[in-house]
């Protein structure tokens, strides 16, 4: 059986399959459930300074088999109430990564400090939500602001910091480089891709918020391109996200440069059993490919690539 363990942000994860932020991550019991279902790590819902109700419904549109559109609007109980949820997850022994979002470097730093105090093993900065106006999206598009936020957070906390990058940019690697230069310990990519669905009978966008974010299998090729480009320009570990459902999806991300991956939409499409199922599938597939340790092949597609 291939060794699925992966080490990054100062921790050895039992497998590279993490629960992505925003999925099963609002309540501590759900984080615990995902951990017990076999996730290698669990990322919390992105938490802000104040409770946020999020956008009204409809907040989700599904495309049969290949994707999903959502505009939740970052609902979250706020940092005041959230530590009790993390407590539940940690008491089950879960490897918890705390996700936060803020409007500027200062708010990010304050939130990060409070989140770090809950005992999470690392932070993920949501620099990339494509549909919350003024919340993270502006910041996440500008390398200078990314640098500023990461630097402020790094000053405020001792635990490792992961910068989560938006795909809605012409040069995602420049954002990752900015984060690295400010001391980020890892990059995660990608968040959802800006998208829209219209109901032709009602002549209006389906989501209450109008624009939303695309996730699921359709964005896998986009996420892979981002990870590939980031891997060519930064040295810190990368966590690949976007459309992962099968063992080969994970291996593609790892070959593109990811040291771990996160699953979001697949949890809705295939259920929480996906973590144990996919770990098994992955291990078998690596055996068939004669790979003994997942970590061996991180970035492995770069060395053989035709230079162009």
């Amino acid at each position: 059986m291939a060794d699925l363990r992966t080490t990054l942000v100062g921790h050895t994860f039992r497998n590279p399959l993490w629960l992505a932020s925003g999925i099963w991550g609002e309540s501590g019991n759900s984080l615990k459930g995902a951990w017990e279902a076999g996730a290698g790590g669990v990322v919390t819902k992105s938490i802000g300074s104040q409770p946020r109700m999020g956008y009204p419904n409809p907040t989700v549109v599904t495309y049969e088999k290949w994707g999903m559109l959502n505009a939740m609007g970052l609902p979250n109980p706020g940092i005041e109430e959230y530590p009790q949820e993390i407590g539940i997850a940690r008491s089950a022994g879960a490897a918890v990564i705390g996700s936060v979002f803020g409007a500027d470097a200062e708010e990010f730093a304050q939130l990060a400090a409070r989140m770090a105090a809950t005992g999470v093993l690392a932070l993920e900065l949501n620099l990339s939500c494509p549909h919350a106006k003024g919340l993270g999206s502006g910041i996440g598009q500008d390398p200078d602001q990314v640098r500023e936020v990461v630097r402020a957070v790094k000053r405020a906390v001792k635990i490792p910091v992961i910068a989560k990058i938006t795909p809605n940019h012409y040069d995602v690697a420049s954002l990752a480089q900015a984060a690295e230069s400010a001391g980020a310990d890892a990059i995660s990519a990608i968040n959802t891709v800006r998208a829209l669905a219209i109901d032709v009978r009602l002549r209006r966008p389906v989501l209450a918020h109008g624009l939303g974010g695309l996730s699921g299998p359709a964005i896998k090729p986009i996420g892979l391109a981002c990870v590939w480009q980031i891997y060519e320009r930064v040295r810190i570990p990368i966590i690949g996200i976007g459309g992962i459902e099968h063992a080969d999806d994970v291996i593609e991300y790892v070959l593109a440069g990811a040291r771990a991956v996160q699953l979001g939409t697949a949890v809705a499409f295939r259920g929480i059993g996906i973590f144990s199922g996919l770990a098994k599938e992955l291990s078998e597939r690596l055996d068939a490919l004669k790979v003994h340790r997942l970590e061996e092949i991180v970035g492995g597609a770069h060395t053989t690539a035709t230079p162009q």
């Binding site: 409809p58 389906v206 949890v267």
Partner: protein, 247 residues
């Protein structure tokens, strides 16, 4: 169709097959999208909506022919195998019990129903339940019809009077908790149709988290044995932000 002063049933043609207990997400364009149990699972399907907050209230006054969006059905179904079923409905909770009771009766089960409401005009589906039940008893808070008091008292009595293989219940959680304790004394298993805030209905967003479960995919029908260990049950729910708030 108006069922009670505060409750209407919307009927619509919607192809995907559905079973009793399941719900759909009903999108009132420009307003909101709400989870609603199917009160009719055949063709046309239907939902029965009670005016609670702003959206549900506005739903009651939608002009006939208004286009609404529907997705689903979602969630699990009532197990129709028990031979002797007690259905205990509080308020609009009867909406989901009616199609389940009909389906079970059709398969030969015997149904006894206890239906409650604040006042007589708000009693839902009494005739519909009578058509397929051995017995239907009602209770109103104001005594305007049937037992003066809670439907839980009625159901306790019915449980004492005759043996049941299962109790089905839907209504306020305090009510369902009382039904459970009465049934526990007689060792009759209880199945509750639960409600929580819902957004994705896909078991993803965590809006409907209830202890270790998601009501949208693990429920809405839960055996009471899974609910009673959960501290939140009957006490707190979560608001749109995910904060725990009292029921």
């Amino acid at each position: 169709m108006v069922e009670t002063p505060n409750t209407v049933t919307l009927r619509f043609r919607y192809a995907p097959p559905a079973g009793p207990g399941q719900f759909v997400m009903i999108w009132i364009p420009g307003d909101d999208e709400l989870p609603m149990s199917l009160s009719y699972t055949g063709d046309p399907k239907g939902v029965t909506i009670k005016a609670m907050g702003d959206t549900s209230r506005r739903t009651l006054s939608l002009p006939v022919g208004t286009l609404v969006g529907i997705r689903g059905p979602y969630g699990n179904q009532f197990d129709l195998d028990p031979r002797r079923i007690l259905a205990v409905g509080g308020g609009s909770g009867t909406a989901v019990l009616a199609p389940a009771a009909e389906a079970a009766a059709q398969r030969g089960s015997r149904i006894v129903a206890a239906l409650g409401a604040t006042t007589a005009p708000e009693l839902l589906f009494v005739d519909r339940m009578k058509a397929i039940s051995e017995k239907v008893e009602v209770a109103t808070d104001d005594g305007s019809r049937g037992h003066h008091g809670f439907v839980t008292d009625v159901s306790r009595r019915l449980l004492a009077e005759q043996p049941f293989d299962a109790v089905w219940t839907c209504g306020p959680e305090v009510m369902m908790k009382k039904v459970i304790s009465a049934a526990d004394e007689r060792r009759v298993p209880v199945f509750c149709s639960m409600e929580r805030q819902m957004k994705c209905a896909l078991g993803m967003c965590d809006a409907c988290a209830l202890g270790p479960y998601h009501v949208c995919t693990d429920g809405p029908v839960f055996p009471a044995s899974r609910l009673t260990p959960i501290a939140e049950f009957g006490r707190t729910k979560r608001d749109s932000s995910g904060r725990r708030v009292p029921l």
